[in-house]
Symmetry: C2
Subunit: 116 residues, 2 copies
DNA sequence: TCACTATTAAACCACCCAGTTAAATGACGC
DNA sequence: GCGTCATTTAACTGGGTGGTTTAATAGTGA
């Protein structure tokens, strides 16, 4: 239901098989069969994972003869990085005291869409 | 089923309501009722979202009287940032030519768990 | 104790997801 | 055209998820 791109990207990344596929594609374009080789899983399952990654815009697909090779498209990861970076100050120890200070000064503010 | 922490974190982030809750918590600790106020959703639904966030380690919960306030714990986001950063060179335009070069030199390597 | 507030639990629903097997599509080589 | 390889589709299953309503738990305060 939530069709927003960030949710789709996060959902696509929430599976270790799909993340492993992306890692393999980071080494270069390859075929579906070779992508599936490392996994104890049938090829239709791999094909479904690829469809999820494609809908999330994380891979692109070509058509060379009977092969439909995949290549990585890291565009959506840029938005993920941007989102997560906006929380950096919350895990970076160097800003812990600053956080306490800001929280003290600001008190309770109205809810916004993203922090900072 | 995939109980690995990174998958759990990504799955927790793959919902706009939960991301909005995190954004609200970035402004400071607050109660369940106040967290649910901006959403057209019943409180049990909010409570379930909080349980998902808690299992992912993204929030911590206290016990002050009848309130069980939530506060942000961005620890897992650090791992997310680390994972996504390993793909930075694939979306950063400045490295496009370098990518082509590396792909040419490396040819096909064996699949690893993460790139580079 | 009683009424009230804050929060969760239980039971239920519709739907999506990850996986399977079996069959279909499509391109190649002979 | 035929057999073969690469890939996808169809149909099905088990289990998780996001939401609801109703009811239970737990603390506060008179």
């Amino acid at each position: 239901m939530p069709a927003d791109p960030l949710s789709t990207t996060f959902a696509a990344l929430a599976d270790p098989t799909r993340r492993a596929i992306l890692a393999r594609l980071a080494l270069g374009e390859t075929s579906v069969t070779e992508l599936g080789a490392p996994f104890q899983m049938t090829l239709p399952a791999i094909s479904k994972h690829l469809k999820v990654l494609e809908r999330a815009g994380l891979i692109e697909r070509g058509r060379t003869a009977q092969w439909r090779p995949c290549r990585l498209d890291a565009g959506p990861l840029k938005e993920v990085a941007g989102w997560v970076e906006s929380y950096r100050r919350f895990w970076d120890q160097r800003f812990d005291r600053l956080d306490d200070y800001l929280r003290e000064v600001e008190g309770k503010a109205q809810p916004g869409t993203e922090p900072k």
